[in-house]
């Protein structure tokens, strides 16, 4: 309500009128908030993988390995981002049903969702998804297994770097492990609304060069 706007702003000004010295913004070095304890030097995929495992994520370095994993749990129906179809679909044999459109009316049919992440954060083991870069919000959320695909050169060293390069996108999400709750007696349960399994698949440096042999 527009009347409320003026009222609130006036109240704010009146409330602040009595303050003699307003607290200045404290300049500080951004590295203050970066964990000092673990080294973030060397290969960022390695550093990321360590942290990702620590938050119960599963880093995977080849499509073959991913397909083996999904097979072993009989996750044979899934959604794959249209942009990843040409790269990944050939690895999935005839035992799989793959769709490139996520149909919300059949939400529970999808056992896995494979989407393109826009990055990852080595310091925290987080994957970064966005509205523009990630094809379907539901595809990355509703299936039991979410696979986020990232290239090595898209991994940020730490959270300040990820914030500094945050895209002009209305929906940037950092995902740090499976969806979880400890509401019932403090006992940790994974997969409460979203994925019970978060996988990060490392894509080859130039995904277009990949010439997978039919699996």
């Amino acid at each position: 309500m527009s009347g409320d706007r003026e009222t609130i702003l006036k109240r704010v000004r009146d409330s602040l009128a009595g303050i003699e010295d307003r607290t200045p913004y404290p300049e500080y070095d951004e590295s203050l908030a970066v964990t000092a304890i673990r080294s973030l030097d060397g290969d960022l995929w390695e550093r990321f993988s360590e942290r990702f495992v620590a938050v119960n994520g599963l880093p995977i370095t080849s499509p073959e390995e991913l397909v083996e994993y999904l097979k072993s749990f009989e996750h044979t129906t899934g959604y794959i981002d249209p942009d990843l179809q040409t790269i990944l679909a050939p690895y999935f044999g005839s035992g799989f049903t793959i769709e490139d459109r996520f149909d919300r009316d059949r939400l529970d049919d999808y056992r896995f969702g494979i989407t393109r992440a826009r990055g990852a954060i080595a310091e925290t083991g987080s994957i970064v998804v966005t509205d523009r870069g990630t094809s379907s919000r539901l595809g990355a959320l509703a299936p039991w297994v979410h696979v986020a695909c990232v290239r090595r050169d898209e991994i940020f060293r730490d959270t300040p770097a990820a914030v500094a390069h945050m895209e002009d996108d209305p929906n940037v999400i950092w995902i740090t492990g499976p969806s979880k709750t400890a509401d019932v007696e403090g006992i940790m349960i994974e997969g409460v609304h979203g994925p019970g399994v978060q996988i990060c698949l490392l894509l080859p440096d130039d995904v277009r060069k990949v010439q997978p042999t039919d699996a």
């Binding site: 404290p26 509401d183 007696e185």
Partner: protein
């Protein structure tokens, strides 16, 4: 003499609830603390810096509020202002009506608890469903949350399993994994049926107009993937100045709340979805809520507005641990609530003026607060206000005897020595009702009266002075 209300509450608390609250608040404490102290060379510097950033923002809200509004509008967000709870509720209802919407899925938000949004909407024929597991259980039980991060800290699995059975969510099964799986199945249908996703906001960045929302369950993400309209309700104090401040606040929030480096789903939302994105709201509203925050801003207790709702102060508070969150009789329990609730109560201040007294001023809350709020000082200021305004206080022992002792050195010395006896007397046997009531929800440290005087004596001798 009557006991303080909070002590009565603690005394009458069911044993089962007492244990649930005590275990739930104290467990994980070490992990939360370690996640700060082991990861950072100087965790206190983080807390102090975060505290100053928020204090700076509050003291410059006259600049930051219009700035964030401008950004939000540029991002395509419809901004609304609400002076009080009623205005905020009406605004939500207006948006619902305008869009012909009648179903909301809600993610956890203290601001919407504060304005009692759900009961209001239900009366208007709107379904407003909580999707955070704990809040969902609170809702089906017609209960109230008793902790700001762990809403059902006072419940155990057996009670929850009974509630689920009663609500037709499945035959009695009290395994936490079954409870969770059943909620998963039930709620995912709801996300897709609702037209509106309603959330709070943890932070609002002035520089960019991005709001930040954190959940571990990912329920807010689901609310914003299944629905067409997003409504966010947020207090005007949630602003932080710059994007670069985010890592600092996110590190502190995750660690202080649950001992995590980051909360699982950390969402940065700045407007409706992009074209080409099939899921999520194409319309976004943000309601900026005052509801006496400007009064707080003018008061000597304005520091409490820095609060980032991490729950750490209640987890460490010996009074909260014994009395549980419901004893605070308001939306915000624990030390933060003891300051915030009476101030948000307006002319009902006297009804909650006992809360600032329900503290032993042990200082544990200040030590853990990620934004360095001097809670004990604020409690004292509120006690003072209650006194100034002549609010009667049941259960506070008269100070006459104390004053007499303190003014007579010889009596004082004798009482210090005698105090040692206190270590051997079972305190609950002492026949002073107020003391007994007080003691019921607090632990006394061992009596060490006189140690300081002894030290002074020796110290003075060592220095060659006279004692």
């Amino acid at each position: 003499m009557k006991a303080q209300p909070i002590d009565v509450f603690a005394r009458d608390l069911e044993e089962e609830v007492r244990h649930a609250v005590l275990d739930g608040s104290s467990s994980g404490y070490d992990k939360r603390l370690a996640s700060l102290t082991s990861d950072f060379a100087d965790p206190d510097l983080l807390r102090r810096t975060a505290g100053r950033i928020k204090q700076h923002t509050l003291e410059n809200l006259d600049t930051y509020l219009p700035r964030v509004e401008e950004k939000l509008i540029a991002n395509g967000v419809r901004v609304h202002w609400a002076t009080d709870a009623e205005a905020a509720r009406r605004t939500v209802l207006g948006i619902m009506r305008e869009n012909g919407a009648d179903k909301i899925v809600k993610s956890k938000s203290m601001a919407t608890e504060e304005i009692a949004l759900t009961p209001f909407l239900e009366k208007e024929g709107i379904e407003s469903l909580e999707t955070d597991l704990g809040e969902f259980i609170v809702q089906i039980d017609h209960d109230h949350p008793s902790h700001i991060v762990k809403p059902i800290i006072h419940k155990n699995r057996r009670g929850i399993a009974r509630s689920f059975e009663r609500e037709g969510l499945g035959a009695y099964d009290d395994r936490p994994e079954t409870i969770t799986a059943r909620a998963r199945t039930f709620l995912r249908k709801k996300y897709l049926e609702a037209q509106v996703g309603l959330t709070g906001a943890n932070f609002l960045v002035a520089e960019s107009g991005r709001m930040v929302l954190v959940t571990n369950e990912g329920n807010s993400r689901f609310c914003l993937a299944g629905t067409d309209i997003h409504i966010a309700v947020t207090g005007i104090e949630k602003i932080i100045p710059r994007e670069r401040d985010l890592p600092l606040f996110l590190s502190l929030l995750g660690r202080s709340a649950t001992g995590q480096q980051l909360t699982v789903y950390t969402e940065f939302i700045s407007g409706p979805k992009v074209e080409g994105q099939p899921d999520g709201p194409g319309q976004m509203h943000l309601i900026l809520l005052d509801n006496r925050r400007t009064e707080l801003l003018a008061s000597k207790c304005r520091d409490i507005l820095r609060c980032i709702r991490c729950g750490a102060c209640m987890n460490v508070c010996p009074v909260y641990r014994q009395a549980s969150g419901h004893a605070y009789r308001s939306v915000y329990p624990g030390p933060v609530g003891a300051v915030l609730s009476p101030l948000l109560a307006g002319n009902k201040f006297p009804e909650l003026a006992d809360l600032p007294k329900a503290s032993s001023l042990c200082g544990a809350c200040k030590e853990v607060c990620p934004v360095d709020i001097p809670i004990p000082d604020l409690l004292l200021r509120l006690r003072d206000r209650a006194k100034q305004e002549g609010v009667k206080s049941p259960g506070t022992p008269p100070m006459g005897g104390w004053a007499y002792m303190a003014s007579k050195p010889s009596v004082w010395r004798a009482s210090l020595a005698a105090g040692k006896v206190m270590n051997y007397v079972p305190m609950n046997l002492i026949p002073v009702p107020a003391l007994r009531a007080w003691r019921h929800s607090r632990e006394l440290p061992p009596w060490r009266g006189g140690a300081f005087r002894k030290w002074m004596k020796i110290h003075a001798k060592e220095k060659g002075g006279e004692s």
